[in-house]
């Protein structure tokens, strides 16, 4: 699989680190709402299809970015 790093360009997936579902909204720092934090941290839509997700180019520029990938085909790009 090839992943387009916004800074370095397209590279093999092995240069990156996966960071999970990027569509989930992290509760505000110190929100204090345990339920919100539980749902954010432990629950996943896990869609079969377009998926917005975090990746970090750890062997490159170390940027974290959001990638849209179709989990049914591994095709990168397209609307989330």
């Amino acid at each position: 699989m090839r992943i387009p790093c916004p800074h370095c360009g397209e590279r093999d997936y092995s240069e990156f680190r996966y960071g999970g579902d990027a569509s989930k909204q992290r509760p505000a720092h110190g929100s204090g709402d345990i339920k919100a934090w539980h749902d954010f941290y432990f629950l996943f839509d896990n869609p079969k299809g377009p998926h917005a997700e975090y990746w970090q180019h750890v062997l490159g520029c170390r940027r974290w970015f959001v990638l849209t990938r179709n989990t049914a085909t591994n095709e990168v790009g397209g609307p989330a």
């Binding site: 370095c8 590279r11 092995s14 240069e15 062997l59 520029c61």
Partner: protein, 175 residues
Amino acid sequence: MLERRSALAGTKEIASSRVRLGEVRGFTLTQVAALDDPVLSDIRAVLGDLPQHPFCGEKDGRRIFHTAPHQFWIVGPEADDIGRRLEGMAIVTGLSHSRTRIFVEGPAAPDVLAKVIEIDLHEAVFGPGMFAMTGLHHTPILLHRVTASRFEIYAMRTFAANAWDWLADAALEFV
């Protein structure tokens, strides 16, 4: 004065008609980062035009690499005051000891690198003056193509011996 001691102090240069493997010592590596665009123009005031990835800029005996958005590596001579000159205006981090600079040279250099480096090394794609941040045996490196047949690798110091062993082994069939 304390003597600098390289991570590869114990290694010997490898040389054959097809490939040479060695280390470049005595340089200063300064990382300068800007938290926003205005700061970038301050930096330009000091360094002049900043090169855009993937092209390495060469100016006043310094090489400048655009290593990340709003972040540059400046490789200068052993005694380089560029860091001090930039301090205060941008976020400056000295990294001179953090990277070990290995060169791979000769007609077989691309063949040696292609054994372990994933990016396309074809001259039309990755030509002289270009660089890439990529991986060498699971570790991050900055790969700079200085000329058609000379590459310089900036490897993490603590992984430098590993990178050297790997490259020396890869070069074996050309030595």
